[in-house]
Assembly symmetry: C2
Homo-oligomer: 332 residues x 2
Amino acid sequence: MVCTSCVRKQEQEAEHGQLIASEASDPLPSWNEGATKKAIVDFVIHTTTDSSVGFIPVADRIACFDNDGTLWSEQPLYFQLAFALDRVKAMASQHPEWKNTQPFKALLEGDLKTALAGGEKALMQIVASTHSGMTTEEFDKSVKDWIATATHPKTGKHYNEMVFQPMVELLNYLRDSGFKTFIVSGGGIDFMRAWAEEVYGIPPYQTVGSSVKLKYEIGEDGEPVLVKLPELNFIDDKEGKPVGIQQHIGKRPVFAAGNSDGDYAMLQWTSTATGYPRFGMIVHHTDSIREWAYDRGSHIGRLEMGLNDASKYNWVLVDMKNDWRKIYSFEE
Amino acid sequence: MVCTSCVRKQEQEAEHGQLIASEASDPLPSWNEGATKKAIVDFVIHTTTDSSVGFIPVADRIACFDNDGTLWSEQPLYFQLAFALDRVKAMASQHPEWKNTQPFKALLEGDLKTALAGGEKALMQIVASTHSGMTTEEFDKSVKDWIATATHPKTGKHYNEMVFQPMVELLNYLRDSGFKTFIVSGGGIDFMRAWAEEVYGIPPYQTVGSSVKLKYEIGEDGEPVLVKLPELNFIDDKEGKPVGIQQHIGKRPVFAAGNSDGDYAMLQWTSTATGYPRFGMIVHHTDSIREWAYDRGSHIGRLEMGLNDASKYNWVLVDMKNDWRKIYSFEE
């Protein structure tokens, strides 16, 4: 009797072991073999092997990822902006004045160029009208409804299907190796939280982003609510990223991944820290067929300082076209 | 051969099982038997048993704890204020002007009453001079140095020895039951992070607190630093607590513990949420011998609204004197 149960247990352990061995043999199946993939795997082995000089205790294995252009696509316009534009259309009937007020008038006429010609002020008006003046729960629902229905103009896929499969594998690989994975994005924190846990396995409390101020108040039904105010609280971009990392995470990352100059300061803050090995990664958009190709001259995701200083800081440039076997999970 | 290894394994498992069983039989040994302890254990069993109607998925098991007066003592003055006063003394030689400037003059003369007579403005001057104008790393070091050496005027113990043993057990019990434990405190976020991970097992990214603004800049040696500015970023107190919870955690807690009216909004935000069972706890300071006894009339940790509305919201009042077998771990 004892040995029957032992044998069954050993079989289960062997199966489990095989599973782990097969995953361990290639934790990054959507990455082509080459210097980039080797650099990632070497770093993880080097920093998680007990006897290694580069060993990092689990408590300090903090990995930070930009979102737009790093974990999912960002062309032809930031997906959160697509959400805002769709919200303007959906809310137009409650705002008859928008028919004669820019930037809303142009938006409703489908003239994005005129709408955004007003620059940051116009953008802030759009954000304020679509990301505030409601409770956090109402906003969360509006994002969830949108992400479940809206589709991307080029691929026809839902926006949350346009996450990069190699990066999802990287997130899983790092977590399986004891790293805590965080999003550190210029995108709206509550916008990302509405879908990021399901798509990336990153919970709301490991999501750092831009935010508006909130107000705690008792609603008309006597129940407390948090209202999103039309006032910026924090911009988690450029020099704001190390600030956001400190305010939310409180530890200096050992791993950071970005794709644009908005990530330069985060990468610099990561790679100049001492004590442990550090890994800085830049996703370089080089695939004009399967995704988009852009860098120095782009109006979205401009990458210039990062390219200039990549070798200085030992940042690994991911060449999407050649390093990624697959970009989206829906590809054959 | 096979069976020798099986037997050894079974012995190890049996030992491990006993350990778990013994912990499970009383996960809260410093709590006296009674209604309070029973309410806690009942809640945890009710919400973590798969088949229970009150089952909460692990991802939503968010537990938030105030710090001052809830996880450690706060008398005769907030420990962080004791830190600030000690820092003023330590920094006085670099600030000869303090000899003639209030509130510093009074502080250096040991006249706390006069120093704090200036109210919030005086307090902010003390905080600004001791919590800003330095890098985050320098501040972290100053707190770690202080907590390792300073002692409490009444007990003679280090301040981080004055954490409540029953609450440390509660934190462990909740974590062992799949809850994520967060600090949500009016105290300074970076002040708490310097020692909370070691003492409470709560990492920096699960610590929510008040903060000053930070600036990312390149230091004189060419290395980037984050400088703490003499400007408030966020006050994580009263109605600020639900705001801090949303900005940092992004989920509504299912468990919250506080001790003063500064925690009222956090408790209300927790207990009025729907969908899952919720647990609200107020640590009532009733032990004038082993700790301190204070509530409605106290200048620190005033508890009035919480007492008035405890039954309305089903908040469990912890009677320190009778519910806690031991308050500090250093007691015999």
